[in-house]
């Protein structure tokens, strides 16, 4: 009776062709499958196939069968199954194909192939895909929960602090510098929080009912995914020219060049200025504001004292 892939395709065709929900009995008659002598074995086989179809993204609905049999039927709505009209132009399809061409990801490749199936062929191009990225894992359950407005629970390891179980109303996925974040309302703190997906440990579980909350509008995604911190200070540093890039990396701009020593100004939190000045060591120094100079000196003294003598 053919192999499993063939059976899954046939099952899909049978559901698409049917005008009404089908019970397992209907399917047996229509497809010839699941007619094992042991009816229970046939039912288990169908259950596995049904789960496989759903894992492929086929929106199979479970509905009560007609009459009072207590049986269930399964329905596949063609409008939910089919890719909606997309009408990509040749230029759009080409741009999309080149853009994602260098990224290796199974789900991405599948999604692109589905869109490309009913789009014009991309123009042959000699341009190399210039950009690639790794894509985050664990997005699917969060996106589903955002769309369903259902709370989720997961274990989270913050950058500083201890791993803990968190429950949130997920509002939005943010994508910034190759990192994915979820923004939502933390139940325990009853306030907006942001979580990095790569710091979520283990599985993400849906909690409670769908439609349990409203997603607020006008979330400031840029602010939410920025390092929180006290207001920045404007610091001046003097640095050996060869190491000026270290300050420029932190957003510093040169205000004066003097021999091999350059004077740069950087706007950052006091902590960030102290970290930068400590990393510079004797290759440069912070000269203002006084509180940054004092905090740097204290941090350097703490490092020196913690590393005094053998271990």
């Amino acid at each position: 009776m053919g192999d499993r892939a063939e059976r899954l395709v046939n099952l899909t065709i049978a559901f698409l062709e049917a005008r009404r929900p089908m019970t397992l009995t209907d399917l047996r008659a229509k497809t010839g499958y699941y007619r094992q002598a042991d009816a229970e074995a046939g039912r288990r086989m169908f259950e596995r196939d049904k789960d496989a179809l759903r894992s492929m993204g086929i929106p199979l609905r479970t509905v009560p069968a007609p009459g009072d049999t207590g049986d269930v039927g399964y329905a596949l709505d063609r409008r939910e199954y089919e890719l909606a009209e997309i009408d990509l132009t040749v230029e759009e399809m080409s741009a999309l194909a080149v853009a994602v061409g260098a990224i290796t990801d199974r789900d991405l490749a599948r999604g692109l192939a589905k869109v490309a199936a009913v789009a014009p062929d991309p123009q042959p191009t000699t341009a190399d895909a210039a950009v690639t990225s790794s894509l985050p894992s664990g997005v699917d359950p969060l996106v589903a929960a955002i769309e369903d407005r259902q709370a989720v629970s997961f274990r989270y390891a913050p950058s500083a602090g201890d791993v803990a179980q968190r429950t949130i109303d997920p509002w939005r996925i943010a994508w910034r510098r190759g990192r994915a974040y979820v923004i939502g309302r933390d139940h325990e703190r009853d306030a907006q929080r942001v979580f990095r997906l790569d710091r979520i440990e283990g599985i993400i579980r849906p909690v409670g009912q769908a439609g349990a909350f409203e997603r607020p509008e006008g979330i400031d995604v840029e602010a939410a995914t920025s390092r929180p911190g006290p207001p920045p200070v404007v610091a001046t540093l003097v640095v050996d020219r060869r190491h000026r890039w270290l300050v420029e990396r932190a957003g510093g701009a040169t205000i004066e060049e003097e021999g091999n020593q350059d004077r740069l100004e950087v706007t950052a939190s006091l902590d960030a200025v102290v970290e930068l000045a400590c990393e510079l060591g004797d290759r440069g120094r912070v000269v203002s504001p006084p509180e940054a100079v004092e905090a740097t000196r204290a941090a350097l003294a703490a490092i020196a004292s913690a590393h005094r003598g053998g271990s």
Partner: protein
């Protein structure tokens, strides 16, 4: 490949072939990102697909004319299955990454809007933030141009940035950092450069060579490794996220980190940047290096203080 993967591909292959009667197996393989053997297997199966219970009257017909393929009676599958949420999100994130790296092209921006709409992904479910990154636009210009470049780069083991002549291949965004894949022409080997350790880029007139098909993922592969032990406070625990392959154990109200490195200088940079949040337990050479740096730095502040 599992049966589920094969079935998913067949449901996409059918509408692709219906749109392109007479396409070849190789063309289909390219479009499906599959091998010609997989497509050939799919076609053999599809010839038996349809409604078998109706006694063979309603099966898909696969006609092969040489290496060209025509499908008939596959009308139930004329449209592809809608991308799953996960597939749609990945398409969006991949395209957004390219948009973040370069000035967006109108075609890519409108393609992205159409993909979101067709996949039923609301505009406010996934949102991207583009950050200007130092050197990024210059590297994009270099990749769009046709010449090699002189790259000033701070290597992990170098005392100061050093100039290298490189043939740029591709940009990669990986875990919060941009990397440039390129051939180092002096070493005559592929190298990966972190953009935040670049201190200058100058174009040359030397033409670029071809880009290899497969580029390795940026990852740290130590050659001559030493084991380092650090103790980090809660404030210094971020250090764990910038290191690879770290063993981490709770230690009092902080953590103990054990990892390998080929560059004590690089770890010393990290410990200094932690500004007291990280303390070296071993090796002694690294303890000494950090102590020397902190004392040398303190001396510059003392000297300035007495000047003033």
């Amino acid at each position: 490949m599992t049966a589920v993967d094969d079935a998913a591909r067949m449901l996409t292959l059918v509408p692709w072939l219906l749109e392109r009667p007479g396409a070849t197996i190789d063309e289909a393989a390219t479009a499906m990102r599959a091998t010609p053997q997989q497509i050939d297997g799919d076609l053999s199966r599809l010839d038996f697909c349809g409604l078998p219970g109706l006694g063979g009257g309603d099966l898909i017909e696969v006609h092969r004319y040489g290496d060209r393929i025509v499908l008939r009676l596959a009308d139930e599958l004329r449209r592809p299955l809608r991308p799953t949420l996960g597939e749609a999100v990945r398409l969006v994130l991949a395209a957004e990454t390219v948009i973040a790296a370069a000035s967006p092209t109108p075609a890519l921006t409108s393609a992205l809007a159409k993909v979101r709409a067709a996949a039923g992904l609301a505009d406010d479910t996934v949102q991207s933030v583009a950050d200007p990154s130092p050197w990024l636009s210059q590297v994009r210009d270099v990749l769009d141009g046709g010449t090699c470049v002189e790259l000033d780069y701070q290597g992990r083991n170098d005392e100061a940035p050093r100039t290298r002549l490189v043939d740029p291949w591709r940009l990669e965004l990986h875990d919060g950092n941009w990397y440039l894949h390129a051939r180092d022409l002096e070493a005559d080997a592929g190298r990966v450069f972190r953009l935040d350790r670049v201190s200058g880029i100058v174009a040359t007139d030397q033409p670029r060579g071809p880009v290899p098909a497969e580029l390795p993922t940026p990852s740290y592969e130590p050659e001559d490794e030493q084991v380092v032990e650090l103790r980090v406070s809660r404030e210094g625990r971020w250090v764990v996220h910038v290191l690879d392959n770290v063993r981490e154990e709770p230690d009092g109200d902080g953590h103990r980190l054990v990892f390998g490195t080929d560059s004590l200088r690089h770890v010393a940079d990290l410990v200094m940047r932690a500004a007291g949040g990280a303390v070296v337990l071993a090796p002694d050479a690294l303890r000494q290096m950090v102590a020397d740096r902190a004392n040398a730095a303190l001396a510059t502040y003392e000297a300035t203080a007495s000047d003033g």
